[in-house]
């Protein structure tokens, strides 16, 4: 359960950024491993890509792209917050960052299908 003091937009933005960051950090080694298969066993890489054609995996991939987009725009928001002159519209920006990520990954998914 989310503790009461956490129930506000900026904390959600924080936790999404953290989850996406950690998620990416866990995914990345897998990604690197599969790519390096290109070096050692190209056949298995193709096998892998075929596997990724299935719907479930498509969805998971959409999730990953979403995470990446989310994390990136969230991160850019943070850096803007930290380095640009202060804006009182942090919540709007946080929501905006999530929205853009959603758009991008949505586009990715649509294209993939």
């Amino acid at each position: 359960m989310i503790r009461p003091h956490r129930t506000h937009a900026l904390w959600y933005a924080f936790i999404l950024h953290r989850i996406s960051g950690v998620g990416l950090a866990l995914f990345l080694p897998v990604h690197f491993y599969t790519l390096s298969l290109a070096l050692t066993a190209p056949g298995r890489l193709d096998e892998f890509f075929r596997w990724t054609d299935t719907a479930a995996v498509k969805f998971a991939e959409f999730g990953l792209v979403f995470l990446l987009a989310l994390h990136m725009f969230g991160g850019l928001r943070l850096m803007a917050l930290e380095w640009l002159p202060w804006s009182d519209r942090q919540k709007t920006l946080a929501a905006g960052a999530a929205a853009i990520s959603f758009l991008i990954s949505g586009l990715f998914l649509l294209r993939a299908i």
Partner: protein, 242 residues
């Protein structure tokens, strides 16, 4: 609206140090009643050993903050109506500080960090000099004014998860004080302030969770102050290297 005779169910944290549990009390509801009044009523009428802290009772001293339904608040200025969930309230000691007993916490770590953040004026003049002329509309002065009304109640400190996770983290109030001084034209400590907020527990640990600004009872914005420190330390990071 509360009727005067209805009883509220109030659970209050009891215990010393890390051990403890919630205990339940029935407290008569009144038209005008703050959370602090509820706590005092329990001590005066139900359990004389209940420990808590307050002084000014009007939101000036910052010694009465507690967790009310899981959220940090100044209890002397929180009307029961605002906090009541159904007919229940839970009241606990402020988060992120060691508990002395029941609702009273040891605030020393909070103030130790205040001082470690160089949260103390670094004079440029003495009592023998005239008082400095300061343009109140000057940009830096206005930034300094933003955080100056902090009552060091530690509400922000209790709200921050980074404080919870990182024992060294100076926390929002101390950093906001450092930022205020940094912007004070009369302060000679700009370099030492930036130094102090750049260490292991410094401003760079803040994740902009914003709970500090969300709950500050005086509507201050420590998050913005910390962002200011990050900006200045980043700038001086490059300067020092070039």
């Amino acid at each position: 609206m509360l009727s005067d005779s209805a009883d509220m169910e109030v659970s209050v944290w009891r215990g010393a140090g890390v051990a403890g549990q919630f205990e339940n009390f029935k407290v008569p509801a009144q038209e005008n009643q703050t959370i602090l009044d509820v706590v005092a009523w329990i001590q005066q009428n139900c359990d004389p050993t209940l420990s808590y802290r307050y002084a000014c009772r009007v939101g000036m001293c910052g010694s009465c903050a507690m967790m009310v339904n899981g959220v940090p608040r100044w209890t002397c200025r929180t009307h029961v109506k605002v906090a009541l969930q159904g007919n229940r309230i839970s009241i606990g000691p402020l988060r992120n500080l060691p508990v002395i007993k029941d609702l009273a916490t040891d605030m020393d770590p909070f103030f130790d960090k205040w001082i470690s953040a160089e949260g103390v004026h670094h004079p440029t003049r003495s009592r023998d000099d005239a008082i400095e002329q300061i343009d109140p509309e000057d940009h830096a002065r206005r930034q300094a004014n933003e955080g100056i009304e902090c009552i060091n109640c530690s509400v922000c400190y209790a709200a921050c998860d980074t404080v919870a996770g990182s024992a060294d983290y100076l926390g929002p109030a101390a950093l906001q004080r450092a930022w205020t001084l940094f912007n004070d034209a009369r302060d000679a400590g700009r370099v030492s302030i930036l130094e102090a907020v750049s260490g292991k527990g410094g401003c760079h640990n803040c994740h902009s969770q914003g709970s500090c600004s969300q709950y500050c009872p005086n509507d201050l914005n420590p998050m913005a102050a910390i962002a200011g420190l990050k900006r200045e330390t980043a700038l001086s990071f490059f300067k020092r290297r070039t």
